[in-house]
């Protein structure tokens, strides 16, 4: 009985061995402390501060404010057509960009994985837009989209699709914005995919060839499953990047943009510019929740796809 009674006590006093078997020295905490302090001060505290602002009517500059409870959130979710429009635009934009950009960058990566002189040049060409600032990209595409002077309209008119306002048409403007976003970032994510593809051992492909697998079968049963973890990173990154495509929209359409191009990031900015700091903070919190939700759903969908 004594032995049985003593066993739990022994278990609580005896420390569980670490998986690595190495116990960090106490002084190692000192190395982490500066990073923790910086993270707390610059990331965690402002995030919590935003939550606090979101239940006030602070205008962004006054020394006084009032607590308004959940009024900002109630207003946003029940009586704000501009926020609803921006949320729908953001979701549509992110959905299109996440799919198109992932597929395009994967396709480019598959075509350019082998290191040859031509593929090196082409990789640089496709990567080039990624080094441009969003403002420069916006300025260039303003002219591309211009129906009078831009090259896009004559090209589309030649196949009977021209004459549009492109960035002005409700429903399609956000798709044209997605075209710019994909153009600007597909090359960057192509590089990530190339790194993932180059990790796949060549012997798998050789064995599959010996077994008579076609090019498509090798892609379907070797490349796709093994590149899935990279795809997960690319999709998650693309999602967050698309939700935050703020400077591109601002450069193309100004502040605040016309409703067809208004996304959540620009809506929040408009709130700050309008001295509705508390309200914009509430928009920011909902924005954060939406990104977290979409990212979580994506991870689940991709994980299930990979398991299947």
């Amino acid at each position: 009985m004594t032995a049985v009674a003593d066993a739990p006590a022994a278990a609580t006093t005896q420390r569980r061995p670490r998986a690595s078997g190495v116990r960090p020295a106490r002084t190692l905490w000192l190395f982490a402390a500066p990073a923790l302090a910086v993270y707390t001060y610059f990331f965690a505290a402002p995030a919590l501060q935003t939550v606090l602002y979101s239940v006030t009517d602070w205008d962004g500059y006054s020394a006084e404010f009032s607590w308004v409870g959940l009024d900002n959130y109630v207003g946003l979710t029940t009586a704000d057509d501009q926020f609803r429009n921006a949320a729908l635009n953001s979701l549509q934009f992110t959905f299109v960009v996440a799919i198109a950009q992932t597929l395009l960058s994967l396709g480019l990566a598959v075509l350019l994985t082998r290191t040859t002189r031509a593929s090196t040049v082409l990789r640089a060409v496709f990567f080039f837009p990624a080094i441009l600032s969003s403002v420069a990209v916006a300025f260039v595409w303003k002219f591309v989209f211009d129906p009078e002077l831009g090259p896009l309209d004559p090209a589309l008119s030649a196949i009977g699709l021209g004459g549009s306002g492109y960035l002005a048409e409700p429903g399609t403007a956000i798709l044209w914005l997605a075209v710019v976003q994909v153009w600007a970032h597909a090359g960057q994510l192509m590089v990530v995919f190339i790194a993932g593809l180059q990790q796949i051992p060549e012997m798998y492909y050789e064995a599959a060839k010996v077994d008579g697998a076609s090019r498509w079968q090798r892609f379907r049963y070797i490349t796709l499953p093994l590149v899935a973890p990279t795809a997960l990173i690319v999709v998650a990154y693309t999602t967050v990047q698309s939700f935050k495509a703020f400077d591109l929209v601002l450069g193309l359409a100004g502040n605040p943009p016309n409703p067809p191009l208004d996304i959540l990031a620009t809506r929040i900015y408009a709130g700050f510019a309008d001295s509705r700091f508390g309200y914009a903070a509430a928009e920011s919190v909902l924005f954060l929740v939406l990104i977290a939700l979409v990212t979580w759903l994506q991870r689940r969908a991709i994980s299930r796809g990979a398991d299947a």
Partner: protein, 437 residues
């Protein structure tokens, strides 16, 4: 320290840091006003300019295109005040619209600063940012009717509008003559007839940047100036005493629909830079933005004579206004400045007629300073508008950008083909959602 207590210590430290970092910026209203709060006791008077000025000051503004001219003016100021220096802190206009208030209030930037007339000026006044210049003798050197936009509700002269721009279309007078018009039409029917004649020449009558809200909205100024029953039409809409669905605004929207065929192809998706190119190349007779684009179109190679033109939307006898102007670029001295002496001295320097002349001719903007001599040919050609019956640009009466955007977007929707009543209803919904209270 045991491992458990160390963890607690770290968690406690982080929590304390978070709580300290999350402190809100002031007090709740029930707790009374905090120091530095929004000007409840009236704006602080700034000191008289010291002679000679000394120390480095920051001049915050959004006019990147004026940098070179201002550099020259600053050099002259420094030559007169060898101990002084002026640094230009320039932000793009959209960025300045959004962040200037917070940056200037924090100090270090914008000892002398500027504001857009309208929402930004009101916010900056409410924030107590403008020092009161009322007692400064140099404010008497401005044209009295043009400096009103820099006053607060009590009549204190807080900002000095340094630019006088015309927010009405530029017109290529050669094309106007080719269309058989010797002068601007005096009524709406005449304006539509002019547009039809211009279209007959095979050009776009009006280049309108419908895809760029900031410039698309400039045309609205002229479209409402005579339609609205009062000159404070947009203040009334924001206050709820007028509605976007009122007859006068519906009339305006119907007139936008009539103008739709006369805008350049794809106007709804166009931004101002391509519109400037179309106008500069003679592909459009009018550029529906304002005199602030004169320099740009000249730079793009426009060699034809340019004047200003505003559509008169009513019968000739019923027109109260012939054009639209805006007294903006409201220069002021920051109450957060630690070098107010030098800042006031710089504003005094800017207010001298010879300095204002240099600025006006160098930047091709008219001035609000009395006694300015215009040597630039475009400024001379349009100087007659300085004495014309113009209205201060109504769109800057809006103090809420979302409300302004909704009202202006109703015009864009109508040009797209949406019925005026439906566009007005949609805009009114946003106005109701955004209106304070």
């Amino acid at each position: 320290m045991s491992r458990l207590s160390r963890r607690h210590f770290l968690a406690g430290t982080a929590a304390a840091g978070l709580l300290a970092g999350c402190a809100l910026p002031g007090t709740t209203r029930a707790g009374g006003a905090a120091p530095g709060g929004g000007g409840a006791s009236g704006p602080a008077l700034v000191p008289a300019p010291a002679r000679p000025a000394s120390g480095e000051i920051s001049f915050a503004h959004w006019r990147g295109e004026d940098r070179a001219v201002l550099d020259g003016i600053i050099a002259a100021f420094v030559a007169e005040n060898p101990g002084a220096a002026v640094r230009q802190d320039i932000s793009p206009s959209s960025d300045y619209q959004s962040t200037a208030l917070l940056r200037i209030r924090r100090g270090g930037t914008g000892d002398v600063f500027t504001a857009f007339r309208g929402a930004q000026f009101v916010d900056m006044v409410d924030a107590g940012l403008y020092g009161d210049l009322s007692a400064q003798p140099f404010t008497d050197g401005y044209l009295p009717r043009l400096v009103r936009s820099g006053r607060d509700a009590q009549g204190n002269q807080l900002g000095l509008p340094y630019q006088y721009v015309f927010n009405m279309p530029l017109v290529n007078t050669d094309l106007l003559a080719a269309a058989g018009a010797s002068s601007a039409p005096a009524d709406w029917d005449g304006f539509l007839a002019l547009c039809e004649s211009l279209r007959g020449l095979g050009i776009a009558p009006i280049a309108w940047p419908g895809g760029e809200p900031a410039n698309a909205g400039q045309l609205l100024n002229a479209m409402v100036m005579n339609n609205a029953p009062t000159d404070d039409m947009f203040t009334a809409i924001e206050a709820g005493t007028a509605r976007v669905t009122d007859d006068w605004f519906l009339t305006t929207l119907r007139q936008y629909a009539q103008l739709a065929p006369y805008f350049q192809d794809g106007a709804l998706g166009a931004s101002s830079e391509p519109c400037q190119q179309v106008f500069a190349s003679g592909g459009a007779a009018m550029l529906a933005t304002g005199s602030f684009h004169l320099t740009a179109v000249r730079t793009l190679g426009a060699a034809f004579p340019i004047d200003l033109i505003a559509p008169i939307t009513v019968d000739a006898g019923a027109a109260r206004h012939q054009g639209v102007a805006n007294a903006t670029f409201l220069v002021g001295v920051s109450t957060s400045s630690e070098k107010q002496d030098a800042a006031v001295a710089f504003v005094e320097f800017l207010s001298r007629p010879e300095v204002a002349s240099r600025y006006a001719n160098g930047t091709v903007q008219h001035s609000t300073v009395a006694g300015v001599e215009y040597t630039d040919p475009d400024l001379r050609a349009t100087a007659r508008w300085l004495d014309a019956p113009v209205i201060l640009a109504p769109r800057f009466q809006f103090e809420n950008l979302d409300i302004r955007s909704a009202v202006e977007n109703a015009c864009v929707e109508v040009v797209r083909g949406v019925p005026p009543e439906q566009a007005a209803e949609s805009a009114q919904t946003v106005v109701d959602q955004r209106r304070p209270g």
